[in-house]
Symmetry: C2
Subunit: 315 residues, 2 copies
């Protein structure tokens, strides 16, 4: 029986790699730079070399490797074909075949957000569940949906693109996607700052956030730190945040009825208090059949991608 | 190889049954009444007798039957356990085991709306697709989600309960579920009437719908008939309907990114025009990664349930 697998998280500046055993223990982690020149043509050869070098270093034979999983920042279909990974300079590329050919090992690719969800289910905040939604609250909002232990890729690899669910009808600002009123405009780190700036502008109430804004330090972290310190205005912002994200989660529950929502990304560093705000508004909007869902924090941080990629090939 | 399977659609007043071959051809269809007395304890024995009698009549041996699929009006988990099918008088009941024991054949149960979606995918409006959403626009709005050819049951059997997705923040009327602003309040047959009544009350514009209302004949059918006849007010109502349902579908696409949305139920009898209104607003709200989705009409009508139930056991 094969004893090892590799998990690869391909990012825009760095490739994270991990060597795992089939139980989810990471035996080694390392990184290489993502060389995007020449339309990203060096990326897969670089990854192949990194893996083959590591296997040689550890004296691991190919037949002892279950395979190599890889998360890619772009839509990836069920056959491992990535469609327009703009950040990497790629157009249409079959990762499973191309990287598999370079390695002589089985390769399975998935979208990075979906793969991170798989990682959190395997060894992180969603451990023990098989129906879960990961919401990654960072600069934007990403997501990954797991149903019966499998990633929901969707028809064109856009499954789990929860950041662009329409949540507000009268939003004047334009989202990065070109629409108006996407979940990402309120529940991302920049979204929380948007809510905070609007609240500060529409109120004369005293708040530690006013000084933060003047000093250019208004951030999602500043908002939730102020919430924990009992700042009343910050608490109102957190209520708005909870309303938007809780409503979004309730909509998602009306589609896939998950057991658990896992919160990751920079905003989730605010901790358990985030789950409290979200859960409160989730219960306001959700259909009663889905009211039992749990809310957990992601635990793998930046390693979710390599864990999920390894899980892709372990199955 | 087994040559037959049975599909059962258990409704509140009637049980529909079908005998199928494994290719999806219905060899015989019939019905029996749903006897709900004594907490619904006669229902499964009645169904078992109907199937065994039919098998005897047709000289079909048990070993020639792949199994019996059944759609049930309530949440059914992955093990075939129904939880509180209020309409039938059932509390918690393991259908797979109970009906399987009575029949001596493999039984697989699912929620009726999810099962209908499976039927439309197998032999109806979703034929040729493996990632689809069925929206049943009747008195209420039901739904079924199919991912990679499999029903999305969800953690508690509430997968695909799209009728209760929150879609409007300031709805004064209460939905049957107790919430406010559910998709069902606008996209069901009664929802279309609600939109029509509000439009008639807020406008003085002439419309054939005014006479319909006075004669107690204001219905979803009357609205879409008026649309086809070029009634301007009716067209405005259809735009509103399309906006709500298109927005709801765009949200669903942000979760599961289906290839196709299939419209069933009484409202869908309005025909292709429905797809046009919904598609227009879907494109307004959807994330571009999901903009290729198709819109089709359901074709199996009331038989979707028996087809899907048969497909449940054919796999």
């Amino acid at each position: 029986m094969a004893k090892y697998c590799f998990g690869v998280d391909l990012g825009g500046t760095t490739v994270k790699l991990g060597l795992f055993d089939p139980e989810g223990n990471v035996l080694e982690k390392w990184e290489i730079p993502t060389r995007k020149e020449e339309s990203g043509s060096k990326i897969l050869p670089d990854i192949a070399k990194a893996i083959l070098d590591k296997a040689a270093e550890k004296d691991i034979a190919k037949e002892d490797v279950v395979g190599v999983g890889i998360g890619v920042p772009g839509p990836v279909d069920g056959k491992g074909i990535v469609h327009r990974a703009v950040n990497l300079g790629w157009d249409v590329l079959n990762i499973n075949e191309t990287l598999g050919g370079l390695l002589g090992m089985p390769v399975r690719a998935g979208n990075d957000a979906n793969v991170a969800a798989l990682g959190e289910m395997w060894c992180g905040g969603g451990k023990g569940y098989t129906n879960m939604v990961l919401a990654t609250l960072g600069t934007g909002v990403g997501g990954g949906i797991i149903i019966n232990g499998e990633m929901v890729t969707g028809a064109t690899g856009a499954g789990g693109e929860i950041g662009h669910i329409h949540i507000q009808d009268d939003e004047p600002d334009t989202c990065g996607c070109g629409n108006h009123g996407c979940l990402e405009q309120y529940a991302s780190a920049t979204g929380v700052v948007r809510l905070a700036e609007r609240k500060l502008a529409s109120s004369t109430q005293d708040s530690v956030l006013r000084a933060a804004k003047e000093n250019g330090r208004l951030s999602a972290k500043a908002v939730f730190d102020a919430v924990k310190a009992g700042d009343a205005l910050a608490c109102e912002i957190a209520e708005q945040f909870g309303d938007y994200l809780g409503k979004g989660f309730a909509m998602i529950a009306g589609v896939v009825n998950p057991e658990v929502f896992v919160l990751g990304g920079g905003v989730s560093k605010a901790g358990e208090i985030l789950c409290e705000y979200v859960s409160k508004y989730y219960q306001k909007y959700v259909f009663r059949g889905s009211s039992d869902a749990q809310f957990k924090l992601a635990t793998l941080g930046n390693d979710a991608g390599i864990y999920g990629a390894a899980k892709l090939v372990i199955g």
